[in-house]
Amino acid sequence: MKAIETFLKPIGTFLTNINPIFLLLGFVVIMVGFFFLFGLSKKLKAYRGQMMVITGLCLFFLLFYLLTFAFKIRKAQMVYTTASTMPHVWIFLMIPVAIMVITSILNGKSGTDEPFGRWILTLGVAVAAFISVFLFEYIGYYLSSALLLVLMMFLLRERKVAVLVGVPIGWVLFTYFVFAKLLFISLPMGSLWTGLF
């Protein structure tokens, strides 16, 4: 046990100190690798999506397991439970559960994967939403959310100019009066507007 800890502690410390963006990139790269790996076998290809989800979860659990070795636990705190006790319980329980999930998938109990539909539209909307959130800081919530609404409606084939203009304006007015004025929840104004006024 001690030997495992000695071996894994530097890995945990390295992962803790690394920029989370690199962790995310590493995760994506490994998942892409698994995507191709599951495509090699005809049987696995039919369950590739389901296998990718459980593999992603296992990878996530493994990352958390390694990170627990970098917790700054003092010896005085090592009584009955430590900060890593509960994470370890859930992580170790995942091992048999993952085996059961993989077995049930490969036995065909869940059926084969559903084919992809317009996934580009879904991803497009998600990416637009992410960009809109990052724009809060610069152009503010109101303009950012209005632009997001216009873009999403356009992607969903709304072509009436009155709707494309009216809905975002209505939304901005609603959020301003309900949240900022009535509930006193200030929404980000963005550096553009605070700089101007």
């Binding site: 999506g49 659990f61 917790f71 009955y80 439970t81 559960v97 539909g117 879904t122 969903l156």
Partner: protein
């Protein structure tokens, strides 16, 4: 008994006043709207209106806030049913069957059952509160950390029901919820865990972005993938309220869920969310058609909603009799009482019975108002969401999700989390991984960890988990909850094999 009834009568007389009735009505209406908006929790709605009570008398202030509390707990169900966006964490369970009912065009039935189950839950729990608050508060005091841990464990057993045939995937999902709940500052030792250097994660993963992401955004992303223009039009939607006979059929479900909600609501920290999950589990196990659950079972809607509103009465038990809040909203209510120099506790019943019983009476009136406003208002909301073209509705849901997850803590990180969970919810839905166990894990994770550590610290070893009778009873119930379906399945299989053998013999 007669004393209680006479005090209660006096409480009702105190409410026969235009101002008081208007305050209850306004409170309920504000609560319903607040509850329906994702990101505005019941506690937040009550806290926002707290300053208004300064200018009111103590009785007026409390009945206004009780109206908000009652309305907000129900309000979450409206969006849960109409657009699969639970307005409050405790209404997540309502969406499991409410939204499928809405998709089947049975919106009126789902809305009606949710409304009247909420009213039933509120009234039944108020009755329990009035007659049993003192003995129940003693039970609450007997709950040690080991009992809380066992109660949470009991909550976890509901995952077997939530997963159905995909129970292995449900287990994986609940473990994900439990693990992400360990993110943030460790509740006992204050050590940073899995925060990745992001300050906003020090408080851990909040419930609202997870809920909105998994349910609302997950559903929208999934629908976008199948979006084929305006082919959705032409679906007939029935807005008719369910007949009385349907409510009568569900009477035992209403009563059971209300009692479960009230009992679980008593324990500080447990609250309406755990109550609704456990109640849903109980209903599914008792149902003759468990396969309908998750696909539009009316009993599923009634179980979640009655337990959710039943928890209000429960949360008031420790608040009034011991001065301990049973939920976040109850904690805000304690603040409101203290503003008016009222100290909740055992003496409140003897020193200020007028105030206590007016409060009880206002809980009945608030539920009546909720029924009235609900009948008028909820159909309108459902009609609006159903009449909106999907090309407008979906962008609005995304915009609401972003706003709701931001509003709780005013954190952009929470919005990003919401979007990440939205993508996860889409993938989970696509690949048949149930998303609801993740929510269960997030609800129970912290409570389990805190109480496990406390139990070990208090008793010095693991003995409290097997020597305290109440803990043992709760564990036994949990084990029975897991074992019963397995035994029943094995029996069915055996019976199937025997009958197959018998058929072969006949052949």
């Amino acid at each position: 008994m007669l004393d209680i009834l006479s005090y209660l009568g006096q409480g009702f007389i105190n409410l026969i006043d235009v101002t008081a009735l208007l305050l209850v009505m306004a409170g309920v209406a504000i609560g319903i709207i607040g509850g329906a908006i994702p990101g505005i929790s019941p506690s937040m709605a009550v806290a926002l209106l707290l300053p208004v009570t300064y200018s009111l008398t103590p009785v007026q202030g409390i009945i206004l806030l009780m109206g908000i509390y009652t309305g907000a707990n129900y309000g979450g169900a409206i969006t849960a049913i109409a657009i699969n966006t639970p307005g409050t964490p405790s209404s997540a369970v309502t969406s499991f069957d409410g939204y499928p009912l809405c998709q089947q065009g049975r919106t009126g039935e789902a809305m009606g059952i949710a409304l009247w189950a909420s009213v039933a839950g509120g009234i039944i729990s108020t009755i329990i509160l009035i007659f049993f608050s003192i003995p129940l508060s003693k039970v609450a005091l007997k709950f040690w950390p080991s009992e809380y841990f066992a109660l949470c464990f009991m909550g976890l057993t509901t995952v077997a029901t939530l997963g159905g045939k995909q129970w292995q995937k449900a287990l994986a999902a609940v473990l994900l919820g439990l693990l992400i709940n360990t993110m943030g500052i460790d509740p006992i030792y204050g050590i940073r865990r899995f925060t990745f250097g992001i300050n906003a994660l020090y408080d851990g993963i909040p419930m609202v972005p997870v809920l909105i992401g998994l349910f609302a955004l997950g559903e929208v992303f999934s629908n976008l993938e199948k979006f084929k223009g305006e082919g959705e039009k032409g679906k007939t939607v029935d807005y008719k309220w369910p007949p009385f006979s349907l409510h009568w059929k569900l009477k035992w479900s209403y009563i059971r869920a209300s009692v479960i909600g009230c009992i679980i609501g008593i324990f500080p920290g447990a609250g309406g969310t755990i109550a609704s999950f456990i109640s849903y589990d109980v209903e599914k196990r008792l149902s003759k058609h468990p396969e309908e659950f998750g696909h539009g079972a009316l009993a599923g809607v009634s179980a979640g909603e009655a337990a959710d509103n039943g928890s209000i009465g429960g949360a008031m038990v420790p608040l009034l009799s011991l001065g301990i809040p049973g939920s976040a909203t109850a904690a805000v209510l304690i603040g409101a009482l203290q503003i008016h120099d009222i100290t909740p506790g055992p003496e409140l019943f003897t020193k200020q019975p007028d105030l206590v019983y007016t409060l009880f009476a206002s809980m009945f009136v608030a539920n009546a108002c909720m029924a009235f406003i609900g009948v008028i208002g909820t159909k309108g909301f459902a009609r609006l969401t159903n009449s909106l073209p999907k090309r407008i509705l979906y962008p609005m849901i995304v915009a609401f999700s972003i706003l709701g997850s931001y509003a709780v803590e005013r954190s952009v990180v929470h919005v990003v989390l919401c979007l990440v969970f939205g993508l996860l919810g889409w993938l989970m839905k696509k690949y048949k991984y149930p998303a609801s166990p993740v929510v269960l894990g997030v609800v129970l994770g912290k409570l389990m960890e805190e109480n496990l550590s406390r139990a070990l610290m208090v008793s010095g070893d693991w003995s409290s988990f097997y020597t305290r009778p109440l803990t043992v009873i709760l564990f036994l119930i949990s084990i029975a909850a897991i074992a019963m379906p397995m035994i029943s399945d094995a029996r069915k299989k055996k019976a199937g094999t025997l009958s197959a053998d018998a058929e072969e013999d006949v052949d």
